[in-house]
């Protein structure tokens, strides 16, 4: 006897991403809600760290719209890493589109201004949170976009480096090289 739609959410936590996505593709909106909830924090944090802006929520919604739009193209057998890998690939593309639309040079100028100051952001630039918080955010934005993507993708998606390399469209050694440089540089900037 099938359960009412609302009660399925109790069991959704036990269902895999691919099962939920299959139901979403078949029109089960509750399955979609569960997927959104499951990936809400890691996906939003990832987008915020990538873009360094408040556009994370908008990009998050765009990501899920794109998931629906391209639902027919997803094949768990072909997509290494499964649904999560595919989801973060879409999110990464949305972040790249955001960069293109906002202009990389604008951010480069902002980064250059902070670098030439050779110090962490001044006290009058604190918005909320501690100085350490601002310093960390500043350090993250000092990374080249390619390095930032690898580190953030690794931390928030917990995907393997091989899957990350596929998402970013680069060889495994390239992804590992970027991650290595990024971590060394971040540690230096954070100190």
């Amino acid at each position: 006897m099938p359960l009412p739609v609302g009660s399925q959410s109790i069991l959704s936590g036990a269902l895999g991403d691919e099962v939920l996505f299959g139901r979403l593709r078949d029109g089960d909106s509750a399955a979609g809600d569960e997927l959104v909830r499951r990936y809400y924090e890691p996906l939003l944090r990832y987008l915020q760290r990538l873009t360094g802006s408040q556009a994370g929520e908008e990009l998050l919604q765009q990501t899920w719209m794109s998931v629906l739009e391209h639902a027919a193209k997803f094949d768990p057998n072909l997509s290494g890493g499964g649904f999560k890998s595919w989801l973060f690939r879409i999110a990464t593309n949305k972040a790249n589109d955001f960069w293109r639309s906002r202009g990389r040079d604008m951010h480069a100028r902002e980064g250059l201004r902070l670098v030439t100051q050779n110090e962490s952001p001044a006290a009058d630039q604190r918005m909320e949170g501690s100085e350490q918080q601002e310093k960390l955010k500043w350090a993250i934005m000092q990374l080249p976009e390619s390095q930032r993507q690898v580190v953030m993708l690794r931390y928030y998606s917990e995907l393997k480096f091989g899957e990350i390399a596929k998402i970013l469209g680069c060889p495994l050694n390239t992804a590992l090289g970027r991650a290595h440089k990024a971590m060394i540089k971040l540690k230096q900037l954070m100190e």
Binding site: Q133, G177, M183, L186
Partner: protein
């Protein structure tokens, strides 16, 4: 897998991430046991990784996110609207496809061949080698319909070439005969009709 990793940094990163196969991991363990420099590099990488993870965890802790429930409801609503839109578009695409005549792939060359055949048959049915004229003796229908019905003559309209006289027409018939061989009776009749038809000026041109 170790062979595919191009330097120690890549190997150590995969080692720290726990993504090396068991046999490769054992090999790296042996390398580390034998190389103090490599062990130092591993320690630095481990410290960097820990610092990054600690920093991001701190940021995530102090930076609050909007309520997940509200976000899920908002995104869920947008997704449902999107699903309806996509379903409507798919339905429209199916309807338009149903109204379109879809022919099998082999029909198109067949249609093209049939068109060529019909054109050829029309050309063959209209082709009469005895009517064909050389450039010098073009039998032209006036490009201006009814030009000869207007009463215009070369004297009144210089653009109209003078009609060749009867002698010239006879010469024309002879030349045609020489060009295309002896004419048949029907050819003769047709030629005489042309010769005597005042509306047709042999060799004349109407300038446009």
């Amino acid at each position: 897998m170790l062979e595919s990793l191009e330097n120690n940094e890549a190997i150590l990163l995969m080692y720290l991430a726990g993504e090396l196969p068991a046999i490769d991991r054992q090999e790296v363990d042996q390398m580390l046991a034998a190389d103090a420099g490599l062990r130092g590099e591993l320690d630095r990488l481990r410290a960097s990784l820990a610092a990054v993870e600690q920093g991001l965890a701190f940021l995530d802790h102090v930076e609050s996110l909007p309520s997940a429930d509200i976000a899920v409801r908002r995104i869920g609503r947008a997704m449902r609207q999107q699903q309806v839109l996509l379903a409507t578009q798919a339905s429209r695409n199916r309807q338009s496809a149903g109204h379109r005549l879809v022919l099998p792939f082999w029909a198109y060359p067949g249609i093209a061949a049939a068109a060529v055949l019909v054109a050829f048959l029309i050309w063959v049915s209209n082709y009469n080698p005895h009517v064909h004229n050389s450039d010098n003796y073009a039998t032209t229908v006036p490009s201006v319909p009814g030009a000869y019905d207007t009463g215009q003559t070369p004297d009144t309209n210089p653009s109209i070439a003078p009609n060749p006289g009867s002698d010239e027409r006879a010469n024309l018939a002879e030349d045609l005969q020489n060009s295309f061989g002896p004419s048949t009776e029907s050819d003769d009749n047709r030629m005489f009709a042309l010769r005597d038809d005042p509306k047709i000026a042999v060799g004349s041109e109407i300038s446009e």
